[in-house]
Symmetry: C2
Subunit: 439 residues, 2 copies
């Protein structure tokens, strides 16, 4: 109740506190607000929070709240309610319910699932004065902002776009067709939501019309939805890079067992992969028995490769994601990463070499051949870091070529891959360098 009791929390403070509140605290918070504040809060909540709020209401109150939602937002709420979507649908008026049901037929992550089916429309043969009068009537019925006004032919094909500014500037008797922009960029209703968001960001659009295969207008995606998509997609990429499945909901709102399932999957795959290190190590058991000193550097060497690989894969996954690097750039990236990997390996190898050969107790710790051990370790570091860097950088390209998400190449996955090969590199180098002395 603490939050509701605070004298005058701002909308921002309420939204900040929302994820940490339980159901009674949320109800008390709503009860403490006046109508306008409560409406603002409700509309600013996430679809999941709107859904759980509506579920807790009596039928009459639910109807009042549900009708504040624009159809595209109502679709998000219905999707978040999953099997309980009827809670929302039954609360809508009949025409909106029909619109929402039509939108629910689209996948959640395509343009059709994101669009608002209501938008301001003009006909090309209107005069500017007629257009303004017509828009006044259209506007009177709705609350949310209109960005552009679309000009449609009689068969509902998108033929142009005008801004409010162009209408205001134009002479009253000019035809809409004379002042409209004819080249309208649009997206197909089945376009991926990431593509839609990227297009809006690239061209600084406030809204993007959605058309079907015949070019008939179906709706608009607005910039606020594009921003949500971008945040959602960045979160998904970050989670995948960290070696989890995408959570699809805020951390504190994911059910504990769902969270566990999404984390255990990749950890198990990686653990099973990492078991190959035990298998690989078994081959080198005799070498370790002869020269236990070799075991001391195993964690250092494999983790250097893992860290270098995590770096490279993260850089390339993001660069591919935002379009800074394309599939055609694979060879350029390879050249850069071969050089980077060798250079980074040499930097770390020098530090490692000095650490071993200048260590005060080097004789008792590493024995008389400490110079050779230093050489074996540092040559291995060069090899392992270069290998980690190159494979970490190339794996995202390989995954995309296989039509998989490059972000599947998580930092832990690359680290695990590099661990196994790192051991093989280390023991091969060590046996070459130390043969005849301690091996």
């Amino acid at each position: 109740m603490t939050t509701a009791a605070t004298p005058n929390p701002t909308l921002g403070e309420l939204l900040d506190a929302w994820p940490s509140m339980d159901a009674p605290e949320r109800a008390a918070t709503f009860a403490a607000l006046d109508d306008e504040e409560a409406t603002d809060l409700f509309l600013a909540l996430s679809a999941a929070d709107q859904g759980s709020f509506l579920s807790g209401l009596a039928v009459g109150a639910r109807r009042l709240w549900a009708r504040l939602l624009a159809p595209d937002d109502a679709v998000d709420v219905a999707q978040s309610l999953e099997a309980d979507a009827a809670v929302l649908l039954d609360a809508l008026d009949a025409p909106t319910r029909a619109q929402v049901q039509a939108l629910l037929a689209y996948r959640e992550d395509e343009a059709g699932g994101l669009m608002d089916p209501r938008y301001a429309v003009l006909r090309p043969e209107f005069t500017v004065d007629e257009a303004i009068a017509y828009l006044r009537r259209q506007y009177a019925a709705r609350e949310d902002p209109t960005y552009y006004t679309y000009v449609l032919s009689a068969d509902h094909r998108l033929v142009g776009v005008v801004t409010m500014r162009e209408l205001i500037r134009a002479a009253g008797r000019a035809k809409v067709s004379e002042i409209m922009t004819r080249e309208v960029l649009s997206v197909r209703e089945d376009a991926d939501q990431e593509e839609v968001a990227r297009m809006m960001a690239r061209y600084d659009f406030l809204a993007l019309p959605v058309v079907d295969a015949e070019g008939r207008m179906k709706g608009v995606v607005t910039v606020d939805d594009a921003i949500d998509v971008m945040t959602e997609e960045a979160t998904e990429d970050i989670q995948k890079l960290g070696g989890t499945e995408a959570l699809d909901a805020p951390y504190l709102q994911v059910d504990f067992f769902d969270l566990l399932k999404k984390r255990a999957g990749w950890l198990t795959v990686l653990f099973v992969g990492e078991m190959l290190t035990a298998t690989a190590m078994a081959y080198f058991e005799d070498a370790i028995a002869k020269a236990v000193v070799l075991a001391l550097f195993i964690p250092l060497i494999i983790s250097s490769g893992g860290n270098a690989g995590s770096q490279a894969t993260t850089l390339i996954v993001r660069a591919l994601g935002v379009g800074d690097v394309r599939m055609e750039d694979a060879m350029r990236v390879l050249r850069r990463e071969v050089l980077s990997g060798l250079a980074l390996g040499c930097v770390l190898a020098s530090i490692g070499f000095l650490r071993i050969v200048l260590w005060p107790t080097r004789d008792s710790l590493y024995g008389p051949h400490y110079m050779l051990i230093g050489a074996a370790v540092s040559i291995s570091v060069v090899g392992v870091v270069a290998w980690g860097t190159i494979s970490g950088a190339m794996l995202p390209f390989l995954l995309r070529r296989l039509k998989l998400d490059p972000a599947t190449a998580s930092a832990p996955m690359v680290a695990t891959l590099v661990d196994v090969t790192g051991l093989i590199i280390y023991f091969s180098v060590a046996s070459a360098v130390l043969r005849g002395t301690i091996l």
Copy 2:
């Protein structure tokens, strides 16, 4: 030249190909376009690309192109040119140059550095008819869209906001002060750009007014700039989580030695930290000499902790970043992560135990005490995974408490931290379980 020679590349195709083109290819591309297409391309390029394009032009041509830029975009170009900012400033007309120089006094990552100093303004005492006529004249002079119209008092304080729609809907003789919204959310000129972007995303604003300490209006931040900030900040977080310094430029455009420097820094720190594993291992050298079989599982055990830690830190860094989790939630997160860590540890430990005790060659590989070895390994896995999960989840909170960026808790950093403690856990458990048998 391949791209320029393609018959009719779309603007999108040109932008896709841009990062991979060299200077002559870019010049040829511009030459092949008509004026309107060239303008669209220029305005859609990144500030860095606009700067390098302008640098390559003769003074006369440069002037024509530079004047297409809005003041806030010109600021970005000037910043990208660094020491060569005069290339741009000299090409601007005097009033715009003065505006740009005023904006350059702000830091690049604060609201003032992001805002456009030009915006549509009304006075509260205007009638609606006067307002529309006034806006027509203001509009005639500028090209980019206006989102909201701000109402300023005589001393330039922000007193209200009206949308174009509200003006069009209102009666011609109503006063602006009667139809305007008086509660205007704004940001201070020194607000962090991340806060600005988050606020616009949260409230679905298309523009946000920027005011000084006295509430006087200084400019507007528009949603297209907020989108760029969000993409930039997500990229920075992802790069930091991957263990690199933020690149601050597209991967292929970062100078090779800069790239190396930004990667070598953290890798060196982590390498030096990881050397502690060699020190820790030295304490256990006798144990390894007695039971070489223990060495076989070192990579498996420490990497399990590293992977679990990477997962946890990534989840929490992102959740803190988007506001799904707040500092006050630290104890809730701790409780969740203790349980998650133990549960994940048990899942992996069971797999590890079965892998060891059911392996066909277990007797020759692990000796007669393979059950005890299985027990030592799996108890260690539980401890290491739980420790990795808990420390990975709590480190971002600690960093934020220390006023550092939580994303500094990179996946490689957590993995390195966990490696050292993981070894200590493993050898302590092993010596307790195996004492009297093989140790």
